[in-house]
């Protein structure tokens, strides 16, 4: 199977009064058809900006994609007009957001909001689109779909709202689903339900998924492949089992070590020393070097390229140069 999405050297900057925020500075990764790619990293490392860049929804000004390429299904998204991009949004690439409470419009009925997405692309009469919405509600396990379509967002629980968002995202059978922290705002018991729903639907529909999360647990249960992001760059990428069993990058190792375990008797939590770098003025060379336990001379001067050191396992670290 070939790549559905290929992001190459993507750089998105925000031009603010305080300076240029280099939110993404050369991000590359790809997603195959039918694959779930997990994108992990700390808050503020550029995960969401990656998602909005792909969707073409970077608020401009102040944001701008300054270089790179986003090939989707063989088409360069960055060279499309707003009109062409609109026909892709929602139809070929759909998105699920972090907080279902704020991503549904409070003044419209949820059924209408789903139907509207169908209408926007297929010009289906709204009555028919509403029936389609009810059918989708059934598929995402919302009880009483025909009643639920006429509910307003505030009448539904967080989990139900996220199901509505998923129904909306799947309404046009997109090839790629971007799920940006889809369970972060939900209760733990609901999280598992939503995740297994996404996984089931992904299998049924054969879509590819870009799953963004800061939660390694979520990523490990869901993703086929994982990309680790740090300070606007991908530092490691590989198959989920390889990456979790044998993390190569010191940052990934730190992340995995920082997960508290119940079977270990430790009084202190493991942490990665230091703080995430300021994106207006990132460290030269490898952006992780001020926090890196293995730091060498070259790390301060040269940015390590992302390259394969084992089959299907890439890392951006000078320690693997030899």
């Amino acid at each position: 199977m070939g790549s559905l999405l290929e992001v190459k050297d993507l750089a998105t900057y925000f031009y603010t009064d305080e300076g240029i925020i280099k939110a993404l500075d050369g991000v590359s990764f790809s997603i195959d058809e039918g694959e779930i790619l997990g994108l992990v990293g700390e808050t503020g490392c550029g995960k969401s900006v990656t998602a909005t860049s792909i969707m073409g929804l970077i608020p401009s000004p102040p944001g701008r994609i300054v270089r790179g390429s986003i090939l989707f299904n063989g088409r360069e998204l960055l060279s499309l007009s707003e009109r062409q991009m609109r026909s892709i949004r929602g139809r070929e690439i759909a998105m699920i957001f972090q907080d279902p409470a704020s991503s549904l419009n409070p003044v419209f009925r949820v059924g209408f909001q789903v139907a509207e997405a169908i209408w926007a692309h297929l010009k289906t009469p709204i009555r028919e689109a509403l029936l389609k919405a009810a059918e989708l509600f059934g598929r995402v396990n919302i009880p009483d779909p025909l009643v639920a379509i006429s509910r307003y967002p505030h009448q539904l629980s967080g989990g139900m709202k996220q199901r509505v968002m998923i129904a909306m995202a799947l309404s046009l059978n997109p090839k790629l689903l971007i799920a940006d922290e889809p369970t972060t705002a939900l209760d733990v018991s609901i999280q598992a339900q939503i995740l297994s729903l996404i996984k089931r639907l992904q299998r049924d529909y054969g879509s590819s998924v870009l799953l963004i999360s800061h939660d390694l647990g979520v990523i490990s249960t869901m993703a086929h492949r994982v990309a680790v992001m740090y300070s606007g760059l991908i530092v490691e990428e590989g198959r989920a089992e390889d990456l979790f069993q044998k993390p190569l990058h010191p940052y990934t190792q730190g992340l995995l070590a920082a997960i508290p375990r119940v079977d270990e008797d430790k009084s202190e939590l493991a942490v990665i020393e230091g703080t995430i770098p300021d994106l207006t003025n990132p460290p030269a060379g490898c952006r992780f070097h001020p926090r890196c336990p293995w730091v060498m001379k070259i790390c301060e001067a040269e940015r390590p390229p992302l390259k394969a050191v084992e089959p299907k396992h890439k890392v951006a670290c000078h320690a693997y140069a030899g």
């Binding site: 929602g90 998105m95 926007a120």
Partner: protein
């Protein structure tokens, strides 16, 4: 909803009682004997005594109050100046005021909302700067000055529109613009800020992510939410237009209730002043009720029962 409206209409009763008590007491709170006040400086002692009996000023205060209330409805509250029931003096004036206020609010809403929306969507552009400046100017311009300028241009030089008085629609144009200008400015500022706030929300990004055209995202998803604070301002502005259009009415010789109140105060026509206050307060409360009903219509989260 019906229950809510009925409940609010019932609430009108205590409000009107409160206002009527204040309006009634006004005459008695003024220093000196109300009868002397009514009679004027040169009145003889007999005149004053006659007035006192005529208006029941020799009766206990609460009896006088009920006489006043009764007089409001049965027409026995007589205007001193016009010598006819106060209610019949006020009623046509209120209709005139309503006519002017409706025309003005239409002007204000149309101009203000369009300017506010355009400003918010294309913020920090030239259009935005021009419209924010004009809005500030509109809010700050004194009504009498702005009215005279418009009369000078459109009545004196161009001779397109009458400079004052009442008649067909042509007579309504200039006063409606003058009275609507400040409100248009206030509405534009409120629409701009609430629209900008709404455009930052996640559901706007989500609406765009569905592939909706920009136009629908703005006019359907954003505007409906941004209207809620704007409606509050529109309601308040409409209330002020009903009660406080004295300046505009004076500049354009518009026979409205604001001028009536001022003229009546100057002419010491207390019954008319008192009755007008009660009526204007009633209209004000009704406008507020209308705004509250509109809220529920715009935002499904607001339900009053």
């Amino acid at each position: 909803m019906v229950k809510f409206i009925v409940r609010r209409l019932m609430l009108l009763i205590p409000v009107l009682i409160g206002v009527s008590v204040i309006a009634f007491l006004m005459l008695h709170l003024a220093p000196g004997d109300p009868a002397e006040l009514l009679a004027g400086l040169e009145a003889s002692a007999e005149d004053i005594a006659a007035l006192r009996t005529r208006f029941g000023l020799d009766k206990p205060l609460f009896v006088q109050y009920f006489m006043f209330l009764k007089g409001l409805f049965d027409g026995s509250l007589i205007s001193l100046k016009y010598e006819m029931p106060a209610a019949s003096v006020i009623f046509p004036r209120i209709l005139n005021t309503l006519k002017l206020a409706c025309a003005s609010i239409v002007v204000a809403v149309a101009v203000g909302m369009i300017a506010g929306i355009v400003s918010a969507v294309r913020r920090h552009s030239l259009v935005d700067y021009v419209s924010t400046t004009l809005a500030l100017l509109g809010v700050s311009m004194p009504v009498f000055w702005w009215g005279l300028i418009l009369i000078m241009i459109f009545s004196v030089y161009l001779r397109w529109l009458p400079s004052g008085g009442m008649g067909g629609l042509r007579y309504l144009v200039l006063p409606a613009i003058v009275l609507g200008t400040a409100s248009a400015g206030a509405i534009a500022r409120m629409t701009r800020s609430s629209m900008m706030e709404v455009l930052k929300q996640d559901y706007i990004t989500a609406a765009k992510a569905k592939g909706l055209p920009e136009r629908l995202v703005i006019y359907r998803h954003a505007l409906r939410n941004a209207l809620i604070p704007t409606v509050t301002v529109v309601g308040l502005e409409f209330g002020y237009m009903l009660a406080g259009a004295v300046l505009t009415e004076t500049v354009f010789s518009w026979p409205g209730v604001g001028r009536l109140i001022v003229d009546s105060i100057l002419a010491r026509d207390y019954p008319v002043v008192q009755a007008s206050l009660v009526l204007v307060a009633g209209v004000f409360v009704l406008v507020n009720l209308g705004v509250d009903v509109l809220y529920a219509f715009l935002d499904p989260r607001i339900r009053y029962d």
